[in-house]
């Protein structure tokens, strides 16, 4: 990374009499391993390095990026960004919320340095998992594993005097398996992610997790019973709590969505000015407090400053069931008359930073997991999910159980065959009457933006209990 070129780019932009300019440079050392059915298909190792410039001129925004580190290219990028900003000719001018300039240098430590782990060890980790999975006497004909490392160095400067350098190593894995029993297939996937070093591998226990998934699928095929559709209690495991939190709380609280900026792609929100829901409106039960916090140590969505140079901290989205705080960048904050809460993220130098979640979870409650089950007369424990989706205003959602069990008088009984909850955000969160003490996180790649930017996040949370919801 040539920081001098980045600084030169900013200086050149200043000469164009912009209202604001920033330069963001990334260098990413990436490795990806792809394994299919026990065979390593390919090993990719690459360095991607480039920078972007974003300018605000007369209330319009222009952005340009390149991976060519020359002054000539830098000037060309500023020139086109400037031209594009002027082209906007907006009636209501874009302004950015006032923020102090920051000088910072931060990094995530690696307890076991990834660079010290040989390619052979990385490959062996995947091979051993495949071997462990296929030595259980379970027929797993479809096995797709990918493993990735991304060591990201960033450098951010803007016309307000901010200078921020950072380094975040991230490590991730994705597994998709198909178990076939008596000719019937069932499928599962798991994603793992961590900001830090190779110690992630010890924490994840990949072999155990994938063997567990294979055994669950086998048991589902052999023993699972269909649910009789009716209202009943539903206990969601951390994975299901997490996806519901991400989809029906995190996304609708993104201020750019609320203001319509994503209207054509990821959509808008059930929260909008003049509508039935706004800040202060009840959306869930008092048991529900949902937080988005980029500063969870070693989380997949970890950061200390966002991609506009704003200090990160926890955001309380739903507080005791009431809509409390939106996720903001500087543009949306100015539109709604508040300060940015540091939610602006870009996946690489060639992408605009937009409003994103980091790690979104239900704040743990005060109930033991045993207590959650004990007074459920009949219901379903949905520990994990397969299919899920939600409408583009983030209200009509559906989760289908992967590992799920029937509960009778507080005891777990037989597995359930893909039980479904299809309901609204309001019904889901209003039905929660208990939240467990323990919290577990799952890694995910959150999709948004055009072009699509899949940013690393944590979902997850505690177990939650929903009373009298329709399960089919």
């Amino acid at each position: 990374m040539d920081k001098d070129i980045a600084d030169y780019t900013l200086d050149y932009a200043k000469g164009k009499k912009v209202d604001y300019a920033e330069v963001r440079a990334h260098t990413e050392n990436r490795e990806e391993l792809a394994m299919k059915n026990g065979v390593l298909d390919a090993y990719l190792s690459a360095v991607d390095s480039g920078f972007c410039v974003r300018v605000l001129v007369d209330g319009g925004i222009g952005f340009a990026s390149t991976n060519k580190w020359t002054k000539e290219e830098a000037k060309a990028m500023v020139d086109i960004a400037y031209k594009y900003a002027k082209m906007a000719k907006r009636k209501d001018k874009i302004v950015f919320a006032e923020e102090k300039s920051v000088k910072a240098d931060w990094k995530v430590e690696e307890k076991k340095r990834i660079a010290n782990v040989s390619p052979e060890t990385r490959i062996q980790t995947l091979m051993e998992m495949d071997k462990a999975l296929t030595s259980q006497g379970i027929n797993v004909p479809g096995r797709m594993f990918t493993f990735g490392v991304n060591l990201t160095e960033k450098y951010f400067v803007n016309t307000e005097g901010s200078v921020i350098s950072s380094y975040v190593p991230r490590i991730g894995a994705f597994m998709f398996i198909t178990v076939v029993e008596s000719g019937k297939p069932e499928q599962a996937y798991k994603q793992f992610g961590y900001a830090g070093g190779w110690e992630a591998i010890d924490k994840w226990k990949l072999n155990d997790q994938m063997i567990h998934e294979a055994k669950v699928l086998q048991r589902v095929i052999k023993e699972a019973k269909a649910v009789k559709a009716e209202k009943m209690d539903l206990i969601c495991g951390p994975e299901v709590t997490g996806i519901a939190t991400h989809e029906s709380c995190g996304h609708p609280m993104e201020a750019d969505r609320i203001l319509g900026r994503e209207m054509s792609q990821a959509g808008k929100s059930f929260i909008y000015k003049g509508g039935p829901f706004w800040l202060g409106t009840r959306i869930g039960s008092p048991a529900v407090t949902i937080v988005d916090d980029p500063t969870v140590k070693n989380s997949f969505g970890y950061y200390e400053y966002d991609d506009e140079g704003i200090k990160a901290g926890p955001r309380y989205l739903y507080k005791k069931g009431v809509i409390n705080e939106f996720l903001h960048n500087r543009e949306t904050a100015a539109k709604l008359g508040v300060r940015s809460n540091g939610s602006s993220r870009a996946i690489n130098y060639d992408r605009e930073a937009i409003v994103r979640m980091a790690n979104t979870f239900v704040q743990p409650g005060d109930v033991n997991e045993e207590e959650i089950f004990e007074d459920v007369k009949k219901g379903v424990f949905m520990k994990s999910f397969t299919e899920w989706n939600i409408d583009d205003k983030r209200f009509n959602q559906r989760y289908v159980g992967r590992e799920a069990y029937w509960i009778e008088n507080g005891k777990l009984k037989h597995p359930m065959a893909r039980p479904v909850i299809e309901t609204t955000t309001q019904i889901f969160w209003s039905a929660v009457d208990a939240v467990s003490k323990n919290i577990e996180y799952d890694a995910g790649s959150c999709g948004k933006g055009d072009p699509m930017q899949g940013v690393p996040v944590y979902t997850g949370g505690p177990m939650i209990r929903l009373r009298e919801v329709y399960v089919k």
Partner: protein, 441 residues
């Protein structure tokens, strides 16, 4: 030979000289431009330039790849890559890459798409067309995207060539009310005939009809899919023909070659033709792309392959190589014999669905999935649109739906938007019988 191709070939030869068995170097000079808009105004315009050489090499069936973006360190990059191959693991299923010298057609790329003089004009034209249809209070957003890529490929196994790939896409979603919207797209490989107003008018027209939606009902319905929704379905079926997805069971087409998988009127092709946003002369191995009939009159004829997957299935590459995953480039569902009006007149009680998103599977092997219709959702009674609906979900099976296609329109549209209607396709209106609709409770 152009200077860029010569440099690409030099990278390939350097890698080969280190002892690699097969090497492919592919250089891309990409110029991508995008204008994003919402609330009838431009939010941001973006230019991104990318200069990259992808190198894939194999040594004793160990397959490794890199991307070179810093051209000062080419020697170090290829040496590092070769060292990685030496410690990597053998891939016994590696079947090599395309061999031979090929004559490619001449690219018909539109070089004006490198930098449109004033992209804002196209955006505002589309917005005005939407407002004209749906009223002055209409709120529209979307993107205008242009692409010009120059590609230079050199393979140690013979293929050497140049391609230029251009595309322009306008995607607009118009809201006539907070819960009433329509979506239109205009997609092409060239600026010639590109009509932003057509997309805007389509979005606005649907948004006007979609006003005052009522909560929809559950049940099984006959459904007319608009070409934009059909593009999502065609993409879903098309991707499942990738031999890689078949091998890992991410497909309903496992063990179904030669079998009936759709109704008799279904013929699905992969055609990376010059009109398409996804036009290309050769694949990532340098094999010439071609038209492939994937499903012929309802019978699954082939998966799409690279050289390695083709060897696993004892066939030849179809010219769809990616490094690991062969993929369809640009799909076409053959036109049928119905007009749009004839299709509507066939429906006594059903739905007209104009768009969808968030398609997710319970099980790719069985095909059980759901997707969420968005924008105009209309109840049809006796061939007429009777009511605008909202808040329903299509929850059915990908294979069963392919078999339930009862009508295909003569009219087709080149569609693509975001990741939802992807890859680009030439999609018609589709009439499908007995589709399950669910709703939240």
């Amino acid at each position: 030979m152009s200077e860029a191709l010569a440099k690409t070939e030099e990278i390939m030869k350097k890698s080969k000289a280190l002892g690699a068995d097969d090497v492919i170097a592919r250089t891309t000079f990409g110029r991508y431009r995008q204008t994003r808009f919402s609330n009838n105004q431009i939010d941001i315009s973006v230019a991104w330039n990318d200069y990259v050489t992808d190198v894939v090499l194999s040594w004793k069936k160990r397959v490794v790849a890199t991307q070179i973006r810093n051209f000062q360190n080419v020697d170090d990059s290829v040496k590092g890559l070769f060292q990685l191959a030496k410690v990597s693991k053998e891939n016994p299923q590696y079947g090599g890459v395309a061999k031979g010298k090929f004559r490619y057609q001449k690219s018909k790329a539109d070089r004006t798409l490198e930098n449109l003089e004033n992209p804002a004009e196209y955006v505002l034209e589309a917005v005005e067309a939407a407002r004209k249809e749906a009223g002055p209070d209409t709120n529209a957003g979307g993107i205008l995207f242009t692409k010009l890529e120059d590609i230079y490929l050199a393979s140690s196994e013979g293929p050497t060539g140049e391609d230029s790939r251009s595309a322009i896409e306008l995607s607009i979603r118009a809201f006539s009310q907070s819960e009433a919207s329509g979506h239109g797209v205009e997609c092409s490989s060239t600026i010639k005939g590109f009509d932003p107003a057509r997309a805007g008018a389509k979005a606005g027209g649907i948004a006007r009809l979609a006003k005052n939606p009522k909560a929809g009902l559950e049940g099984r319905f006959d459904i007319i899919f608009d070409p934009l929704f059909a593009g999502s379905l065609v993409g879903m079926w098309g991707y499942m023909t990738s031999a890689y997805y078949v091998l890992v069971q991410l497909s309903v087409f496992v063990n179904k070659l030669g079998q009936k998988v759709g109704s008799d009127i279904v013929t699905l092709r992969d055609v990376p033709a010059s009109y398409s946003m996804a036009n290309r002369l050769f694949d990532d191995e340098g094999a010439p792309t071609r038209e492939n009939v994937l499903i012929d009159k309802g019978v699954l004829k082939t998966y799409v392959h690279n050289t390695s997957t083709a060897k696993i299935f004892k066939t030849e590459t179809t010219g769809n190589a990616g490094l690991v995953t062969p993929t369809p480039w640009s799909l076409e569902l053959d036109a049928g014999n119905m007009s749009r009006d004839e299709m509507f007149s066939e429906v006594k009680r059903g739905l007209y669905l104009t768009n969808t998103w968030y398609t997710r599977f319970q099980n790719y092997a069985t095909g059980d999935f759901s997707t969420i219709p968005r924008d105009g959702i209309f109840l049809i009674e006796n061939g007429e649109i009777k009511q605008s609906w909202k808040d329903v979900r299509l929850s059915d099976n990908a294979l069963k739906m392919l078999g339930n296609i009862k009508g295909i329109s003569k009219q087709r549209q080149h569609v693509h938007w975001w990741g939802e209607a992807d890859p680009p396709s030439l999609s018609p209106y589709i009439l499908m019988k007995d589709v399950q609709i669910t709703r939240p409770k």
